[in-house]
Symmetry: C2
Subunit: 212 residues, 2 copies
């Protein structure tokens, strides 16, 4: 059983404790005897996976979350299923922030991913600069590079501080580890989505004696 989380930029795989990502245009062959159990937010990449491997199983319909949010991406549902109480931050192409309280999803919001901020300033010549990821967030910037880095990083950190209050933050996604450095008592777990998928498999199949 191989797990696959199909995002907007990459396909993320989990197999026997190992995780890696692949581009939809360069999918490697997998053991034909294994079933790839996937969730997806991207049709093109899903089709690429289905073409590359015969035994695929779409887990989307088996994920469920107690929420009133309309249109929550399946990757966010899966990550939230893995956490009973806390703030889940998935920092990829976009940064999604979701709040779980006693197993109930209270809502969430979306900010641009760190790489997207960089792109935003590409059209303004004087602001088209690399970020300073080590900028001091507690002193007013004194040059352009620090000014755009501070504007990006501090706004993300403030939003997470305000949202989390007394809840723990669980970071995941490509930039999750970096963002976790700005918080004490937080977790970084690059398996969060896969843990939610495993929980859905356990509830819907394994507990009923069905092995995919």
């Amino acid at each position: 059983m191989i797990l696959c989380d199909i995002g907007n930029s990459f396909l993320h795989f989990y197999y026997r404790g190992r995780i890696w990502k692949e581009d939809k245009h360069a999918l490697t062959p997998k053991d034909p005897k294994e079933t790839i159990i996937f969730i997806s937010v991207n049709k093109d990449s899903t089709n690429a996976l289905l073409r590359s491997h015969n035994r695929c199983f779409d887990l989307c319909d088996y994920l469920s979350l107690d929420t009133t949010y309309k249109g929550l991406g399946v990757d966010r549902v899966a990550a939230c299923m893995a956490i009973n109480d806390g703030v889940i931050v998935d920092a990829g192409s976009a940064i999604t922030i979701d709040v779980m309280h006693q197993g109930i999803h209270l809502g969430g919001f979306i900010m641009p991913g760190i790489s997207q901020y960089r792109k935003m300033f590409e059209n303004i010549a004087v602001l088209d600069q690399d970020m300073n990821f080590a900028v001091d967030l507690y002193a007013f910037p004194q040059n352009t590079k620090d000014a755009i880095s501070y504007g990006m990083l501090k706004s993300i950190v403030l939003m997470l501080q305000t949202t989390s209050k007394n809840k723990r933050i669980h970071f995941t996604g490509g930039d999750g580890k970096f963002l976790s450095h700005f918080f004490k008592n937080c977790f970084y777990d690059d398996l969060l989505v896969f843990k939610g998928m495993q929980k859905a498999i356990e509830i819907n199949f394994t507990a009923k004696g069905i092995y995919l």
Copy 2:
């Protein structure tokens, strides 16, 4: 005397109490007897102005501010010159935030403009939505449109709240009026940059009996 603030998107004019903006490709003829006194952060637009009108005067070298910030745009310098104590927020293609204390510039930072946030999500199909500018900033969003609107607006508002503390915020720029609605006891002044330019003209010329 016509004042002109040349930004990255438009040329902004001030003449006899009236302000308006023009595109660099569609500059209207001005009274040839009037001098256009300008500051600029954009070379192409400056050249367009110089081609369109014979009597132009570059005020950039006459602006000055007590600061250690390197590379502060002349429009930001002008706006800061108009305020002795307070936070100056110029919300255009980018949002610039500067802090003035007893006539001294303490530093500043830059966030993407509201229209830039919208563009950031254009590459992510499911997030390519219009903003809800009336989203509730004090309840967790329950759908994608609110989620991206909340992520944008609340992050800007939090940054301004954290920066201003007990200082007054002075908003200017195209989106300044909209952002000012989120704050009590703030000012909106679309003449801020021009007021700084007038101050520089007063100090450097008028006070010495020189009339441009």
